[in-house]
């Protein structure tokens, strides 16, 4: 394949990767930013989103699109509810102690993963795309659904931005993030904000998973990759910085896509890990992070 089309395909692949990464990493970043909790179980919420999507689509068997729409509504809500319960039952009782919550979320990771193995089984299961069309470029064909995923991710990100920047809910969240004690003094129910933010963070991962599951398949081990990439993105962008997270997700997604196509996926992983190491050495607060956290 010539260089031009080659680069074009690489960019398309990178965009899909970046779109999914934006959503998952945003969830992780939000939870860290507001609650100062490093959620190691984040990838498992992603996996749960995919698994519940499979379950919903296999029950609602009228038309793939109907099943998918139902999954898009139900899966994030269900995952949010599970995350909410986890926050109330575990993280709250640990008083959000940074070390303790890391260990606790590692525990949640294994519990969720093994429960999925127990009830969902070890096999990958396909979810049919709501619609399928193939775009034939002069040099290669490409799945139209993948481009829809990119568009959907952009739409969801815009809504998220609007909620965080322009609404009262967003204001309450930002206040809690800025200074929890003062926020509480001003009558903001910090406790409840924490629980909701944890649930919303998990829901972002679940939405990303529902969007991607018709391309890949639901599998109980699928949470690991997005977790690692999300951490890379969040560290790169600056812990707790939403803008940094999105910029870093696009950067990592595109470079991962392009380096993978031109060289090898292993080299792409090496490059992004190296980038994280360099950022940690020369700009520990991340590309967009504030000096002190």
């Amino acid at each position: 394949m010539d260089f031009g089309p080659f680069l074009f395909l690489a960019t398309l692949e990178g965009l899909v990767q970046a779109a999914v990464l934006c959503l998952t990493a945003l969830g992780l970043s939000l939870v860290f930013g507001v609650m100062r909790v490093v959620n190691v179980a984040h990838g498992e919420f992603y996996m749960l989103g995919a698994v519940i999507a499979w379950w919903v689509t296999s029950i609602v068997g009228i038309h793939p699109a109907v099943g998918f729409a139902a999954a898009l509504a139900i899966a994030p809500l269900a995952v949010g509810a599970i995350a909410f319960a986890g926050e109330r039952l575990i993280l709250k009782r640990l008083d959000y102690n940074p070390e303790a919550t890391i260990v606790a979320t590692i525990g949640m990771l294994y519990v969720i993963q093994q429960m999925a193995l127990l009830f969902f089984g070890p096999d990958p299961r396909p979810v049919e795309a709501p619609f399928y069309f193939r775009i034939q470029f002069p040099w290669f064909g490409y799945s139209g659904y993948k481009l829809i995923v990119v568009a959907a991710a952009i739409a969801i990100l815009l809504i998220a931005w609007f909620v965080i920047a322009k609404t009262r809910i967003g204001l309450v969240m930002r206040a809690t993030q800025f200074d929890g004690d003062t926020a509480q003094a001003f009558g903001i129910p910090v406790n409840r904000v924490y629980a909701s933010v944890f649930a919303v963070g998990a829901m972002f991962a679940a939405v990303a998973a529902v969007l991607i599951v018709p391309i890949r398949q639901a599998h109980y081990l699928m949470g690991l990759d997005p977790l690692l990439l999300s951490f890379i993105v969040v560290i790169l962008g600056g812990l707790g910085s939403i803008r940094g997270t999105i910029v870093a997700a696009i950067l990592i997604g595109l470079s991962d896509g392009i380096i993978s196509v031109f060289f090898s996926p292993t080299l792409a992983k090496m490059a992004s890990t190296l980038l994280v190491a360099l950022v940690l050495v020369f700009r520990p607060q991340g590309l967009f992070g504030r000096e002190e956290l």
């Binding site: 394949m1 089309p5 080659f6 395909l9 690489a10 692949e13 990767q17 193995l117 089984g121 070890p122 096999d123 990958p124 396909p126 049919e128 399928y132 193939r134 034939q136 290669f140 064909g141 490409y142 799945s143 391309i215 890949r216 398949q217 599998h219 081990l221 699928m222 990759d225 896509g257 993978s260 196509v261 996926p265 292993t266």
Partner: protein, 437 residues
């Protein structure tokens, strides 16, 4: 008032403790009087032969594991109905290895030290076989694999590792390369998983196609845990006549779908190993582009027009319908090209144990069992070997058999060529029988 732990502890009086101990002792006595425990009092010779099955119940090999389990259960049932092995019942002990080499070695150890089985068998994924074999050798535990990799026949493992129930990749690809070169084309691009099993494909198919005057234009290795494949496809040169693919793991369906998206109807000839679609329904949406492509099949998934009585019996025993899916669930597609290996391996184990007069499982018994298996030369097609006749080479611990090339026609796989056993024979590269135990 809340009681402190200390106060609670004190509530256990001597009397209640005695009552508790008494109840436990009573239950134990009752259990040992139950009929189930009687057989352990009998002579050692009627105790069951215990085989440890190292099963990929979880991890990336889980779809294979599910069916390896079912086939083994069906074959063991049949063996027991026929009077077991040397008149002793056969018992299968299963341990999950998570399709992980490190866990695999631990499982072998557990079989030897805890379960004290007579032999272990049933492993498929080559990295698990390679990771577990040294431990099996150290523990002097027969390790009978169903793995396809060339690692057994290459001589790099040890005296305790044998593969009598399934052919190896080197034999498979060298027997089919002539057909591929003369019917599909000579310029080949290969896509394969980047670990031992895929490397066997890379090395032996490249050599085999070169021997036919063909060439491999491009080698595209893919990490076995990969979940997205489109980005590899631009490396397929446009001069490719035949795209050769073999893929494993949870991403196989994505792989094949993305292949279809990339090429559409404007595709080269495609020759795949059915591994890329094992346990996947051919009728899945977006797989229509596979129509007219070819697959290797170890054992034809769809019952063919000339189906043998043995295949029919085997299908019924395992619970597989004529489309290769479970009789209970048409969506639960089997790993038909590989799982027959468990069935045939169990019957070879039975044959070798009976030949060696296997006793109470001493080290000498295990060595005699391996020597007996090494002395076997061929297996006839029949109930015990439904996939077909095999030739066994005891020096390299490897079986040789027939391979099938099938074409996708109207959404099902029809066999268009079946190789002879001789097509897949090669010069032995090792001699395990010269190794010490």
């Amino acid at each position: 008032m809340k009681k402190t732990p200390k106060e609670r502890k004190l509530q256990i009086t001597r009397r209640s403790a005695l009552a508790g101990i008494g109840a436990v002792a009573g239950a134990g006595a009752a259990a040992s009087a139950a009929p189930g425990f009687v057989r352990y009092a009998q002579a050692a010779s009627s105790e069951p032969i215990r085989l440890g099955m190292q099963l990929h119940r979880t991890g990336i090999g889980a779809s294979y594991g599910r069916w390896y389990d079912r086939v083994t259960t069906a074959a063991a049932k049949l063996i027991n109905e026929d009077g077991g092995i040397n008149g002793r019942p056969l018992e299968i002990v299963i341990e999950d290895d998570g399709t992980d080499p490190k866990r695999g070695a631990e499982v072998v150890e557990k079989f030897a030290t805890q379960h004290k089985v007579d032999a272990t068998f049933g492993t498929l994924f080559s990295h698990v076989v390679i990771g577990s074999s040294p431990r099996a050798g150290e523990l002097k535990m027969p390790y009978i694999v169903v793995s396809e990799g060339h690692h057994v026949a290459s001589g790099r493992l040890n005296r305790y590792v044998l593969q009598p129930g399934i052919t190896d990749v080197k034999s498979q690809v060298s027997s089919m390369a002539p057909w591929v070169a003369s019917n599909l084309g000579k310029k080949v691009t290969m896509i394969y998983p980047d670990f031992a099993f895929g490397h066997d494909h890379r090395d032996y198919f490249s050599a085999a196609i070169a021997a036919q005057g063909g060439e491999v234009l491009e080698l595209i290795p893919i990490p076995p845990t990969e979940s997205s494949f489109t980005r590899y496809f631009p490396r397929i040169p446009s001069a490719t006549d035949v795209l050769y693919h073999v893929m494993v793991g949870p991403g196989v369906l994505t792989f094949v779908k993305e292949l279809g998206q990339h090429f559409g109807s404007n595709r080269p000839e495609i020759f795949g190993f059915i591994d890329s679609l094992e346990a996947v329904d051919l009728a899945t949406p977006q797989l229509e582009f596979l129509e007219g492509t070819h697959f290797w099949e170890g054992n034809p998934r769809y019952a063919q027009a000339n189906q043998s009585a043995h295949d029919k019996f085997y299908r019924e025993s395992v619970g597989v319908d004529d489309n290769g899916a479970s009789v209970n669930d048409a969506k639960d597609v089997s790993t038909y090209s590989h799982m027959f290996g468990c069935w045939e391996t169990l019957f070879v184990i039975k044959q070798a144990m009976e030949l060696s007069g296997y006793g109470d499982g001493s080290a000498a018994d295990k060595q005699a069992f391996i020597e007996a298996m090494e002395s076997l030369e061929s297996f006839d097609e029949g109930r015990d070997h439904p996939q077909g006749a095999k030739i066994f080479n005891g020096k390299i611990h490897q079986a040789f058999g027939h391979q099938n090339i099938s074409r996708v026609e109207n959404g099902r796989l029809n066999v268009v060529h079946r190789t002879s056993i001789e097509d897949g024979m090669y010069e032995p590269e090792a001699d395990y029988t010269q190794m010490s135990f």
